[in-house]
Symmetry: C2
Subunit: 341 residues, 2 copies
DNA sequence: CATTTTTTGAGGTACGTAAATCATCGATGC
DNA sequence: GCATCGATGATTTACGTACCTCAAAAAATG
């Protein structure tokens, strides 16, 4: 049988009330007594029954997700995953609130962080935008004892507790590795389409991509980044211009959103698909393009997994428990036509 | 506030005892009364508090994992994952027992199933071997109300409740897709090394591989399967023989275990690595070979995820709850040198 | 030493559910 | 009209923990 608080009391030679005071860090216990109780806990291997504790406490975990609004398919997928998690709130004792804010708008994000009611919040998950004000907001949350998790786009050197998302440098390297081999031996140019070079994940992908391209595929010439603002129409415009200016483009790496625009342009070019394509995020459009052969590989991060992982991590941190690292590592998914889920 | 059993009693106009009888399917309630209670449950949206119920019941989940013994690195990884899960038993209310049996031995597996004490078992997870006796054992477990989960290798047309593992046909297709593009335009032969064509997952991978090879890479000639029995030494022997007999081999697909042998042979051939290689399972050897360039891609299934998924599914089924399908889908991981975890 | 303050003990109630006992009521059969 | 039986109610205890009150003991203070 698993030891209980009663066993601690007996083992430490104190009363139940004292054990309770120690366990829940209530005042009024001599330091030496605390030591005795803690020694007994360690000795008999007591672990608190979280379920029973939560029952007694009537605990629920109030969590907040802050996501950018707008058409970005991946962000909408995240949103859907959050809403899906909300349906399991009763079972999981969570109370999930979803805030959406204008995309690429650090001020709005910082302000959203400011207006949160910190008392009794069990965690905040946000898609970070780089800015001092955001860093400060995160620090304030953290210092108030609220676990903070960055989602998809990290905020290094901040007080965030955890990052849920892929290693974007590795993702960029992987894209280069695939694209380089897919285009084969031929020389030519590579077009790179990003959303904005102000968002950390896009910068990192680009960095990883360049590393591998330069080191391993010197025959390929990587063109300057096209910024498509994660918007289909813009992507279509800039990419079409690029392909016209450079008829010898043999590969395209789309590292942001707005793939719809890229797909349109490539499919309009007609049959001779001498262009290999690697893109990010498995949206419906990307999936179709993968099936039809317009896109050769899609690098994906699973929105559902990320949201569930964020919830697990916030709950664990709120309880003062360590997360299962191995379980919480978000993997870089590579989808070809043949392993589509 | 979430409704409780008391609220049901009030809403249905019956006593707590009757609600309890209905909820726990105890006898002694008229059908019409059952109907009234169930209507009230649906109306007020009651969901049982599993944590409280498990506390009251002193429930633990006795689970059994049956794995093949032997040197197969992936099976050992599964075993490690089971032992790791065991360390979380106290928190997760599980009581995990691990049985190992001789590999490729359906009789031993069937016998292991026979000797299980079915009363109070919350689930059995097994790496299936194809055989009638195994199917019967699974059926007996299922009929006794014990959830059965197949792990890694499925047993279709059996009474198993769930399969935890990848789609092996898709894995084979993916391997072909990668290998076909990696070898580029050149003609040549492809060597395929399997463990045994008696194991379903190997057969399925081979099938998927052939599909794509024939359809999309007609310039490549797939040689008959070499059986390496998932054993390094055997793999080395048969593969070395094959490469000698066919100097024009340009690609190798290793769909079973024993990659150590393959790596030795390929690295012994020396520098001119004109051979592209796709293998399965990210063992330490495979990882090193990936880094050094001997292997180009590894297709992997995450043992830790599989074990955790199996546990979640068995617990859910034991509680009569539906698993979260999306969460339990095991993905085909593709690792290149650049996205190694 | 007496007094105040701190520390500890004893005991209770609550959380939401399970499971048991015992009493009650109505209908049935004889 | 009495015994029997099925259905239902009323009530209690328990699970492991949290949290509260009140009293008692111990320690610190003057």
């Amino acid at each position: 049988m698993r030891p209980t608080v009663h066993d601690i009391a007996e083992a430490a030679g104190v009363s139940l009330a004292t054990v309770d005071r120690v366990l829940n860090r209530r005042p009024g216990v001599r330091q030496s007594t605390i030591g005795r109780v803690e020694e007994a806990i360690a000795r008999i291997g007591y672990v608190r029954d979280l379920a029973a504790a939560n029952l007694a406490k009537r605990r629920i975990y109030p969590l907040v997700f802050i996501l950018p609004e707008g058409p970005n398919a991946f962000m909408r997928a995240l949103e859907a995953a959050v809403l899906e998690a909300k349906t399991r709130s009763a079972i999981e004792r969570t109370d999930i609130r979803l805030l959406t804010i204008p995309p690429f708008d650090a001020q709005a994000l910082a302000q959203a962080l400011d207006t949160l009611d910190l008392s009794e919040l069990a965690g905040v998950a946000l898609v970070a935008t780089e800015a001092g004000a955001v860093r400060e907001g995160v620090a304030r949350l953290h210092d108030a004892g609220v676990p903070v998790v960055t989602l998809v786009s990290d905020l290094p050197n901040s007080r965030r507790d955890h990052y849920v998302g892929i290693d974007n440098v590795a993702a960029g390297r992987t894209a280069a590795s695939l694209l380089g081999r897919f285009v084969g031996n031929c020389r030519g140019k590579i077009a790179v389409v990003a959303g904005s070079m102000l968002v950390r994940d896009h910068v990192e992908r680009r960095m990883g991509f360049d590393q591998v391209m330069h080191a391993e595929f010197p025959a390929l010439d990587v063109l300057p980044v096209l910024e498509g603002l994660d918007d289909g129409a813009t992507v279509a415009r800039v990419l079409a211009g690029c392909l016209e200016a450079h008829p010898d483009v043999v590969g395209v790496y789309s590292l942001g959103a707005g793939n719809r625009g890229m797909i349109e342009v490539l499919e309009a070019r007609g049959v001779g698909r001498a262009i290999s394509v690697v893109a990010h995020e498995l949206s419906d459009h990307a999936r179709k393009a993968l099936t039809s052969g317009t896109i050769d590989a899609v690098i994906n991060q699973d929105a559902g997994h990320e949201v569930r992982s964020a919830i697990r991590v916030m709950k664990a941190r709120a309880d003062g428990l360590p997360p299962v690292d191995d379980q919480e590592r978000i993997r870089i998914d590579i989808f070809l036509r043949d392993n589509l889920p």
